[in-house]
């Protein structure tokens, strides 16, 4: 049974210092078992300027069991799957403790963006690139940040252009963007799955 009273306290605590931390946690559903975390990309990294959304779902044993977290925003990082958004981070697994909170976990995820651990990869392809060709890695990570983590600032034409550059037909891009209400991430997902 999830300790909802505690989750409630965590949300209050987190919203209290949102200005200082930039970390946001908002419930997706009324029962607080599914939430969305938001972290700003760390300054001085290829993720700077991006806003990253993380899907959070709380297992029954929370806070004894770790929260399940994965990136909803696409991100190019050795320890985050470029396809699924799965995160390789010890505190989300066997090093979790009830002494940690959603906020401290998200801060650790943010720290992971600053300090990739390519020797213990989640995404082998990205990790190889990070180790063998850092310049290309850094460029790709920045491009993904621009493309996926800053969508709200883009106009429709820019979104269309970006998706067309990825190799999709313009007409299909436009109709897909329309269908998902202009959300570029959703549109890309749809284009990829369709």
């Amino acid at each position: 049974m999830i300790d909802f009273a505690r989750v409630q306290k965590e949300l209050q605590e987190c919203s209290r210092d949102i200005e200082a931390s930039g970390i946001k946690v908002t419930p997706k559903s009324e029962n607080l078992a599914r939430l969305t975390g938001t972290i700003p990309g760390p300054i001085g990294t290829p993720y700077e300027g991006g806003t990253f959304q993380i899907d959070i779902s709380l297992p029954d044993g929370y806070p004894f069991e770790p929260p399940k977290m994965q990136f909803a925003t696409k991100v190019w990082h050795p320890n985050i799957s470029s396809q699924s958004g799965a995160i390789c981070l010890d505190i989300l697994k066997d090093q979790w403790s009830p002494a940690l909170t959603l906020k401290t976990a998200l801060l650790s995820v943010q720290a992971l963006l600053s300090a990739p651990q390519p020797d213990d990869p989640q995404d082998a392809v990205v990790a190889q690139q990070y180790l063998k060709d850092y310049q290309t890695f850094s460029g790709t990570a920045r491009y993904w940040t621009e493309t996926f983590a800053k969508t709200s600032s883009l106009g429709v034409e820019e979104k269309v252009q970006k998706l067309v550059e990825m190799g999709f037909h313009e007409a299909i891009v436009r109709s897909t963007l329309d269908a998902v209400g202009g959300d570029e991430n959703l549109a890309l997902e749809k284009l990829c799955s369709g």
Binding site: M1, D3, R6, K9, E10, E13, F64, S81, Q83, S84, A86, C88, D90, K93, D94, Q95, W96, S97, P98, A99, L100, T101, Q117, D120, P121, Q122, D123, A124, V125, A127
Partner: protein
């Protein structure tokens, strides 16, 4: 520190296509977590968090076809101890043993002076955690649940419980895990508060800093306890603990003896305590240590 399974995952990926790796990457962690819980529930079927009181002969029976040295040692143990109570080997056994042993002692002795003593220490621990920057809501539920158990074992209240009920509660995950976590908070707080004292011991065990050690080896559930944990818990709560070691050590000297170590709380930091003049309490909690595991021992 990342766990070994991920390393294996990474190695596997080298010989496989990217899409196969993605399968591993997306499902591996959940699989591992599920496997962990499967192992835990398999363990749970074998023994509850807390077993029944068994005569020492039950311990000897375990080694019947095994080491004669250990059988000799168990015979020696029989001079001072009559019974054993096993705890589940899930990495929390030291804390679960301590929890039951302490509460059972209070239930049987109704030692209100000891209860006052530990409550004062618990308040100190609360202040320690606050001063270390822990948010109250992360630990307050665990503290409250322990204090509630403490009040329940004292008789004469509406909330007083029997020995049977204490056993039931100690086997109830929603109580036992909370108390274990309470002890983990207390232990972590004490180690961090006196980090310069504990640092050399921690460096002897691992390569970690005090901070890393607390984060990775004290605060997560299921992390096993070492002498550092026992020293810190004993000091923080002012409760002496005797640990009797049942292993193959000192077996080539002819006569068989069983080693023990008493963890005596560090002299109180009361301003007027005179050196060496403080009353040393004898341990009323005795745990049996076999490499990797703690159970409760009962003295004659």
């Amino acid at each position: 520190m990342q766990n070994q399974n991920q390393n294996q995952e990474g190695q596997l990926a080298d010989g496989q296509t990217a899409s196969e790796f993605e399968d591993w990457a997306s499902f591996g962690d959940d699989d591992i977590m599920q496997q962990h819980s499967a192992i835990r529930s398999a363990e749970a079927d074998k023994i509850p968090f807390l077993g029944d009181k068994e005569p020492l002969s039950a311990l000897a029976a375990e080694y019947e076809s095994g080491s004669p040295i250990l059988l000799e040692k168990i015979k020696v143990l029989g001079d001072q101890y009559v019974a054993i109570r096993r705890t589940r080997g899930d990495g929390n056994c030291f804390f679960r043993s301590f929890m039951f042993s302490y509460l059972e002692h209070i239930l049987e002795t109704q030692d209100r002076a000891e209860v006052d003593q530990i409550k004062a220490k618990v308040e100190e621990c609360r202040k320690t955690l606050q001063s270390l920057g822990y948010a109250d809501f992360t630990f307050e539920d665990f503290f409250a649940l322990f204090l509630e158990q403490l009040d329940c074992v004292l008789q004469g209240n509406d909330s007083s419980i029997s020995h049977d009920e204490l056993i039931n509660r100690s086997r109830d995950q929603s109580i036992s895990d909370y108390v274990v976590m309470f002890f983990r908070f207390v232990t972590s707080g004490e180690i961090r508060k006196r980090s310069e004292f504990f640092e050399p011991f921690i460096l002897g065990l691992t390569n970690a800093t005090v901070e890393q050690f607390c984060k990775s080896s004290v605060e997560p559930m299921g992390e096993e306890s070492d002498h550092v944990h026992i020293t810190a818990l004993s000091d923080a709560l002012g409760v002496p603990i005797r640990v009797v070691y049942l292993d193959r050590s000192s077996c080539d000297t002819g006569s068989v003896s069983v080693n023990h170590h008493d963890f005596i709380p560090a002299a109180d930091d009361l301003p007027n305590s005179t050196s060496g003049g403080s009353v040393t309490k004898n341990p009323f909690i005795t745990l049996l240590y076999r490499p990797g595991h703690y159970d409760i021992l009962y003295a004659k």
